[in-house]
Symmetry: C2
Subunit: 334 residues, 2 copies
């Protein structure tokens, strides 16, 4: 391994001077700098970020912990944070939890072990209590979902109003029995979306039929399962999640259900295909790119400030979702 010492030996300078020449910190004659850089290139020198962060007591890594990097929701976050990091000379530590609390904890420990400059987390269900102490050790934000224990800023969406709008749309079309596929209340998003749905029903003076709330994991599999049996009086469904929408569409396509003739459907997501499916799906669109940008900026701006800079009441930013009416919802048959 080529070190600063090797360059010092090669150029006949001291390690200190070499470091200054390379880092551009202290004073160095331009000629010296030249000579040092030439030697560094020739010998193939690359700094050791381990040594540097040891000395500096901080690294240039920013961490992101997500349930699933294939999900576009989260890969957009990764893209935005990676871009923001690159612009600032920071680097990017990605961790995937698969919504497993143990894995989540391991990854959070790894972030602390790496002395990450900042960490963003999409918390899974039942986060371990020891996450709290780990989160306090650097600037930290929660994304999309919010754990009740973790005191931190949060960047997410106004899930309730999104679902309320969607539900109201169906009610105004005359639908009275609306099936909701969503994630369970162990996920803050699942809970919020259920609230939005039930609130809309209550505002219209309707009672909530618990059998029509199909809560489960936010997966394609649950999307399928949630509509495996649709009671005959149901005339509309809402799939309140990207993967749930995908699973439901898969089943509906297989069955050859006529949309919106037999059934109205409101989907959820940002994927382009939603606007191509059956002439364009009526859907809830979380503006993920905006959120990702906002959050990346904020998180990185907090680097260097005190870690636990969170004062309760601040920094809870719910971004509104967009509701787009397409061809998959129509008045209920009378």
């Amino acid at each position: 391994m080529v070190t600063i010492k090797d360059i010092a030996r090669d150029t006949g300078l001291s390690p200190a001077t070499v470091a200054r020449a390379l880092g551009g910190n202290g004073p160095t004659r331009p000629e010296t700098r030249q000579r040092v850089h030439e030697a560094a290139d020739r010998l193939g020198y690359v700094v050791s970020s381990a040594a540097r962060s040891m000395r500096n007591q901080s690294s240039d890594m920013v961490g992101l912990i997500v349930p699933d990097i294939v999900n576009r929701f989260y890969s957009e976050m990764a893209r935005a944070i990676a871009a923001a990091c690159d612009a600032r000379g920071l680097h990017f530590l990605l961790a995937v939890t698969d919504d497993d609390p143990d894995r989540e904890l391991r990854q959070m420990r790894a972030m602390v072990a790496a002395r990450a400059a900042a960490v963003a987390l999409v918390p899974g269900p039942h986060s371990h209590r020891s996450m709290i102490a780990l989160a306090e050790r650097q600037p930290f934000v929660q994304l999309v979902r919010r754990s009740e224990w973790l005191r931190s800023e949060w960047f997410g969406f106004e899930e309730e109003s999104g679902l309320e709008t969607a539900t109201t749309h169906l009610l105004s079309l005359g639908h009275r029995h609306i099936l909701l596929a969503c994630s369970g209340d162990r996920y803050s998003t699942g809970a919020a979306r259920q609230r939005g749905y039930t609130d809309a029903l209550k505002k219209h003076g309707l009672s909530v039929d618990d059998a029509l709330i199909r809560a489960g994991e936010p997966t394609v599999a649950h999307g399928r399962a949630a509509i495996a049996d649709i009671p005959p009086h149901v005339t509309a469904i809402i799939t309140a999640g990207t993967l749930l929408t995908e699973g439901a569409v898969d089943v509906l396509t297989d069955r050859g259900v006529s949309i919106p003739g037999d059934l109205s459907i409101v989907g959820f997501g940002i994927e382009k295909w939603l606007q191509w499916w059956r002439g364009g799906m009526t859907r809830i669109i979380p503006p993920v790119d905006v959120l990702a940008e906002t959050c990346a900026e904020h998180l990185l701006s907090r680097i260097g400030t005190e870690a636990a800079g969170y004062s309760s009441g601040t920094g809870v930013i719910g971004h509104p979702t967009v509701f787009e009416i397409g061809q998959t919802t129509a008045p209920a048959a009378t």
Copy 2:
């Protein structure tokens, strides 16, 4: 920052004993280990991976450098590598290049600076020459695309035969003027896909019309541009890339082109919606999940072996693609 020294002071032991108790390496009395762990938990100790990698002359980081993490092609790779890392107690450094050679080089330097245990790269166009030396410093593989300069193992797809199959399919349906949207030959995949297309034409004794090969960047924008003007005698198109397919579908939907009545189309990709679009798109499917798995296993298995373990002729693994015939291709009008 709580260090081993603090635990040593707290327990009245020496730093070395504490390290042994925590790491489980050297011999320690169970009772001592107990005491040390209790103190570590109480004080909130988390090991410094910087210090550890400095001492060990190696880190527990595995790097992946991709053009675009939102592209499912690459997020699948990330998922597979992240999972494989987690299973082995390694961690995951992700870098995004946006197909910018400068950014690619910066990210590769960062990997070397972090003394990554292994690195996988999806090379962009015109990789810098200095990538060569950086690649040699740890186990290294190329993914999907292949740079001619970089000597390393490669995991990708049999792009040529995939395109040849697709083109032959259209030829056998009687199409004689087939437009190809693809990436330029600065991308190894673009070049290979073009070869597959022209080979098929030549085998059928047809000449290649260069005006029908629309090469550009692998982006949605180019997918749109490539079919902005379709010459009247063209009866079929192939969009040889995921984002190109997306862009083309967007335009075709806007224009209300009848598929396959007016035009046959062969797409490319793994996304679920391809099988929903117009009753299922005829398409080339690269089995990305298999490739990702294979590559992750291989890369991690090489950790600890000599870095430049590449002998020419070895390790060029092109995985076959799948060709699925859907509802978007039909016999050419006569």
